[in-house]
């Protein structure tokens, strides 16, 4: 609706003919861009939590890219000076169209959506589909196992969940780690070190549920052997220094008498200090 309003305003505020006005073709291009960006903004906002950007908004984003491209490439029908790209993109200080498109591009880059889309960016990649499948499965598993005990939510009563969903969770976790490793090997630059935000966020939610809410990960702490081994190692240097102090022969230096006129007096002085 917003885009509609915007477009109407543009149409409505038609200025007198003598002033340089936007070509009709350009005007329609601009309107299309406005509409597209409004749609994308809406999509991004609605899918902010839990993050589903890459799954839901990639179509909008691609369309917007196309619209921006057509503005940048459009030449208009008349002379060179009146082409759309120039009049829309660069004729004022604010350059709102450029700013908007930059914002969307940056957001898309930061979300790293390219990572979970297919190479031709149509649809999710196979590994992402697989991951999301598993993710949904684990969520369903959580729900199923919690239903019975929804009444009492004391933190210790989640053992059922932990037992029953362990398999799915482990699978999910392993798949995520695998994806991450693959990703690291493939790309060199800093951006591709991350998976796309949808996958990362999904994993994050699950992990939080698993280890914070359900308290399912209890690592085995074996403090006693660790203390024993470390105190043994820490004890070794003490033995070493003591034994080398007691058994090693102290290194002696042989003093040389310098050939000097007054050497005797000074040497006696020094020798007495150290004897």
């Amino acid at each position: 609706e917003l885009a509609q309003e915007l477009a109407e305003e543009l149409w409505g505020s038609g200025l007198p003919g003598d002033l340089p006005e936007l070509e009709p073709e350009c005007r329609s291009l601009l309107a299309a861009f406005a509409e597209g960006s409004a749609a994308l903004t809406g999509c991004l906002g609605r899918r902010a939590r839990p993050v589903r950007l890459c799954q839901g908004c990639s179509g909008h984003y691609r369309r917007l890219l196309g619209q921006y491209d057509s503005i940048a490439r459009a030449v208009g029908n008349s002379s060179e000076s009146h082409n759309c790209a120039k009049s829309i993109l660069t004729s004022d200080r604010l350059q709102i169209v450029v700013t908007l498109s930059e914002f969307f591009n940056e957001t898309w880059e930061a979300a790293n959506c390219a990572n979970c889309l297919k190479n031709n960016s149509e649809g999710l990649s196979n590994s992402t589909e697989e991951f999301l499948d598993l993710f949904n499965k684990s969520l369903t598993c959580f729900e199923h196992n919690l239903q019975g005990q929804a009444i009492d939510l004391s933190p210790n009563n989640y053992t059922e969940v932990c037992k029953n969903c362990n398999e799915t969770y482990t699978k999910l976790n392993d798949l995520y780690n695998h994806l991450q490793r693959m990703n690291r090997q493939g790309g060199e630059s800093a951006h591709s070190a991350h998976l796309c935000i949808d996958v990362e966020d999904a994993m994050n939610i699950t992990r939080k549920l698993w280890s914070r809410t359900f308290n399912c990960s209890f690592p085995c702490s074996d403090t006693v052997p660790v203390i024993a081994v470390s105190s043994f190692i820490l004890f070794l240097p003490v033995v070493f220094y003591l034994s080398s102090f007691l058994h090693s022969k102290q290194k002696k230096r042989i003093l040389i008498l310098p050939k000097r006129i007054q050497s005797n007096a000074n040497l006696v002085n020094i020798q007495e200090k150290y004897s």
């Binding site: 074996d222 102090f245 090693s248 230096r253 042989i254 003093l255 007096a265 002085n269």
Partner: protein, 760 residues
Amino acid sequence: QLTPSSFLRIGQLSNVDLNEDIHELETEVPRQRPNEIPHNEKLLSLKYESLDYDNSENQLFLEEERRINHAAFRTVEIKRWVICAMIGILTGLVACFIDIVVENLAGLKYRVVKDNIDKFTAKGGLSFSLLLWATLNASVVMVGSLIVAFIEPVAAGSGIPQIKCYLNGVKIPHVVRLKTLVIKVCGVILSVVGGLAVGKEGPMIHSGSVIAAGISQGRSTSLKRDFKIFEYFRRDTEKRDFVSAGAAAGVSAAFGAPVGGVLFSLEEGASFWNQFLTWRIFFASMISTFTLNSVLSVYHGNAWDLSSPGLINFGRFDSEKMGYTIQEIPIFIFMGVVGGILGALFNALNYWLTMFRIRYIHRPCLQVVEAMLVAAVTATVGFVMIYCSRDCQPIQGSSVAYPLQLFCADGEYNSMATAFFNTPEKSVVNLFHDPPGSYNPMALGMFTLMYFFLACWTYGLTVSAGVFIPSLLIGAAWGRLFGISLSYLTKGSIWADPGKYALMGAAAQLGGIVRMTLSLTVIMMEATGNVTYGFPIMLVLMTAKIVGDYFVEGLYDMHIQLQSVPFLHWEAPVTSHSLTAREVMSTPVTCLRRIERVGTVVDILSDTSSNHNGFPVVESNPDTTQVAGLRGLILRSQLIVLLKHKVFVERANLSLVQRRLKLKDFRDAYPRFPPIQSIHVSQDERECMIDLSEFMNPSPYTVPQEASLPRVFKLFRALGLRHLVVVDNRNEVVGMVTRKDLARYRLGKEGLEELSLAQT
């Protein structure tokens, strides 16, 4: 000549109080038997000799100069530039090699240990992970220590004290050999991979120096290869100039600080300096950092990016929060004070430890065992700290290389592991740049404390490793802690960014330990890439030095002293004007006549009780009974070359076709002249005569007997002399001043003290 009155006069002038003096005069019995004492810091070792910086302007030299025309000297100048470029390139390449190998090996190690820990966290049995980590560290360090202890002990440590001595004019045996370079490079890689609290930056300076010394000679005596190039530079003077260029190139490659490198050479070897040399050294430095930068950027896959000018990059400090205001200056100065005190504490602890090591842990196998123990303990301390820490940080959005989960919730990592489970360089950069709140103050405090003792314990081990990075890390840790508490006190003001304080703390700690001034300021400035930090860094370093010097001296100076090196400081001790050359000099002097019997020369040279290197040459008039006037000075190395080529008067008469000796013959023997024992002189030849007038330096520097110690010192230090002849007013030789005669006077706690000579 020695009257009782003169004795009394000397006794009064030397700096001991009068009562003791009388006591001494009474008990003045010359003790002849060798006296054994435990090692202490008030000794000068006989092992160290001076370098011959003074050019011997003998007949051969003049002949050569006449023969070489003007154009040839221009080629010599061009060759100097070529050599400097090669020094830069090779130093950069060596730095790249170290960096890449360390990165890969350390990465491999941490991955193995991390996988192991992850496995055992789930199943139990973390003590095995601890054992694995400790064993891995210890075995890697064992190899590193073995090669140093058994193959080349001079490669131990950071090498900066050794290079400082070399530039000062002391010949440290083996210090610029190719073998040392190889051991140094491998040793550094192994000790960093072995997880010791060390850095790879300091040894770069030594490596650069060895490269410089090697290239400028155009040959390697270790490999027995002579490339027949750069023969003109086979002299101590020329070599020293190139070594200072190499040291600068090393600093520049280590920190990405070309100007800092030049200033480092200036600060450490400043008594011999000229402007042309500065410009050449700067050239070598620039080439070095550029080479490192381009090769590393190609290696990291973004060629032409040129984003890694040094082995360590402090990262960029140009965000809004990183700026400082005038009000913060007093805070920085306070940090400088803290750094000075902590640095002095570090040095004092290390002093006791080093003394213990010299006295008791002198056998190579013990040294290796000690290094292994330190490596194992370092791993253990790290593990225990990580194990005990319950400080978890979300893994998302952080750039941790090896996140250890341990007892944290899934998706989080142990924040203590970022500090301990990483190479020290990475930890430093993390401390500078991690956003506020990444570190738990408690954990950081424990880390600082532990790392302080570990680093102190590690320095002085028989492994090649530097102290720069550990110092920076300690400083960055307490600096960050300081910053955190400051922002806590000020209720989170925007200006109290902990990263900035981490940087200042790092500077303060490093300054407090090594006490470098000008060069360190510039190095830090260049490493941060922020010129506005120059002022606070300078203030911090200045304060740290002043405060630290109040307690003990700098780490490098301390180690030089503990090695009993006859090091000449900038100036003679201030209260020494009453000492004259007569009291300082050694006497009597072994002189040679201008035309001397070969037998005498051989006997003098093979006398083991006096390993003199320079012999005054006196007039050989047989009719005069008294000591004849000084005519020149000849060096042991020259005599050996003469004996080797059998340049005897009789032989010259016998065979007129015999090739005349040239300066080249002396240069070819440089720098390892054969010992006198290896030269065979037959009984007949002993009776021959040898004419020294062509080969001796006809105008050696001399001083009168009455010259004061500071005057002698100035002449000696400024010209880089090795022998200074003391003459009376009839130009007769009465004594000889050498480096050890001057270096033995030192300003101690109770005024002027004198060091004694010792065999080590």
